[in-house]
Symmetry: C2
Subunit: 196 residues, 2 copies
DNA sequence: TTGAAGGTACAACGATCGTTGTAGTTTCGC
DNA sequence: GCGAAACTACAACGATCGTTGTACCTTCAA
C-alpha cells in the first residue's frame, strides 16, 4: 500500500470542515461544501468520512491535535523564575486575547462542536480529551509556577475562561476586543477562584 | 380581519422551534420539523415564517419575550431589606443552578442562536436586546440592594455568568450539576469582579 | 511483470431541503 | 347576507442533502 491512509488529505479535509463550521455553522457542513472548500473533486469527503458523524469527529480530532500542539509548545519556553499572581492574570489575559482574535475561527468551530456534542456521545468523548488536556496543562503550569492550585480550582478557572471566551467570540463587536478587556476578565477569574 | 396575525399559533411554532434547536440543533431546524413538532399541517410554518431567517428570528424573539417576563417577575418580590454580598453570590448561584437545569433547554437554544447570530446581523440585533435587558435588570437589582456596582462590572459579571452557564449546559454530565458547584462559581464571579 | 489492495473520481439513489403558488376556508366590516 | 382580507391546507418546483455503488488508477509485494 502507498500510505495506509492519506493523512495529509485527511488533515486538509478536516481543516476545511473547521473553516466551514466557523464561517457558516454546522448547518452548512456537508460532504460537498467540504469538497468545494478544500478544492478536491466532489465525493472525496464522502469517501474519507462516509457518515456525517465521521466528518464531525474528524474536525474535532483535528482541533484537539492543533490545540495540544499549541499547549505543549507554549509550555516549553517558560523560564524557571518564580512569576507571581499578577503574572498569572496577565498570562491568562493575553491568552484570552489571542484566543478571541487570532484563534477566533478555531474556537467558533469548537463551540459549534460542543453544542453538537450534546446529542452525539462520540463527539462528546473526543472533545472531553480537549478539556482534560487543558486542565492537565494548566495544572502543570501552576505547579511549575510554584502555586498550590488544586484541581477543582483549575477546573473552575477553565470553565470561566472558556465561558468568557464564548461571550467574546460570539458577542457583538468581535473586532473591537481589547487587551485591557481580556486582562480585566482574566484578573476577575484568577482572583475570584484563587482568592485575594 | 379575524386577528391581524394569529399570535397564539406563532407562539406555538416559535416554542417548537426552540425545542428543536435545543434537542436537535440548528442543523435540523426546518419548516417541516417545526410543523411536525407543533402538530400542525405541513406547510404551516412556511406560511408564517417564509424564510428560514424569519424562523430563527421568531425563535429568538420568543426567547427574549420569555426571558424578559422571567426577569420582571423575579425582580418583583425582592423585599426592601439590605441583603449583603454573600446573599448576592447565593442569589446568583441559585439562578445559575436553575438556568442549568430547569431552563437548560432554553439556554441550549440561546447558545445555538448566538452562534448563528455570528453570521446573521438580524439575529444578532434581536439577541442584543436580551443581553441589554439582562444588564439593565441586574444593574437595577444591585441598586436596589444598595450596591454601588458599575455598569462595566455588571457587564463583566454577565459575561462570566453566561459563559459559566454555557460550560454547565454543554459540558459532560449535565444531569450531575449540583447547587454547591453553581454557588462556588457564582462566588468566584462576584468576588472576582467586585473585589474582596 | 503481475496481481491484490487501497486511493480516487464520479454517477446515482431516494429523501429532504427552502421556497413559492394556489385553491379552499374562516372571519368580520358593512 | 356579502365580499374583502387574512388564515389555512396542500401541491409542487429545482436544489441539495446523506449515502452507496462502481469503475479506474496508482502503488508495491511477490
Amino acid at each position: 500500500m502507498p500510505q495506509p491512509r492519506n493523512e495529509e488529505r485527511r488533515r486538509a479535509l478536516a481543516d476545511a470542515a473547521i473553516a466551514i463550521l466557523a464561517g457558516q455553522g454546522s448547518h452548512h457542513l456537508t460532504h460537498r461544501t467540504v469538497d468545494r472548500r478544500a478544492g478536491v473533486p466532489a465525493g472525496t469527503t464522502a469517501n474519507y468520512f462516509p457518515q456525517r458523524d465521521d466528518l464531525l469527529d474528524a474536525a474535532a480530532r483535528r482541533i484537539v491535535e492543533l490545540s495540544v500542539t499549541d499547549m505543549t509548545t507554549a509550555a516549553a519556553p517558560t523560564q524557571t523564575g518564580p512569576p507571581s499572581r499578577p503574572d498569572l492574570a496577565g498570562l491568562l489575559g493575553d491568552s484570552l486575547f489571542a484566543a478571541a482574535t487570532v484563534l477566533r475561527e478555531r474556537y467558533l468551530a469548537i463551540y459549534e462542536l460542543l453544542l453538537e456534542a450534546t446529542r452525539r456521545p462520540r463527539l462528546a468523548e473526543t472533545l472531553a480529551t480537549l478539556s482534560e488536556s487543558t486542565v492537565q496543562s494548566t495544572l502543570a503550569l501552576h505547579r511549575e509556577l510554584g502555586l498550590g492550585t488544586t484541581r477543582a480550582q483549575v477546573e473552575a478557572m477553565v470553565t470561566l475562561y472558556g465561558g468568557a471566551l464564548y461571550a467574546l467570540v460570539t458577542g457583538p463587536g468581535a473586532e473591537t476586543i481589547t487587551r485591557d478587556q481580556t486582562r480585566a476578565l482574566a484578573r476577575a477569574i484568577v482572583t475570584g477562584v484563587l482568592g485575594d
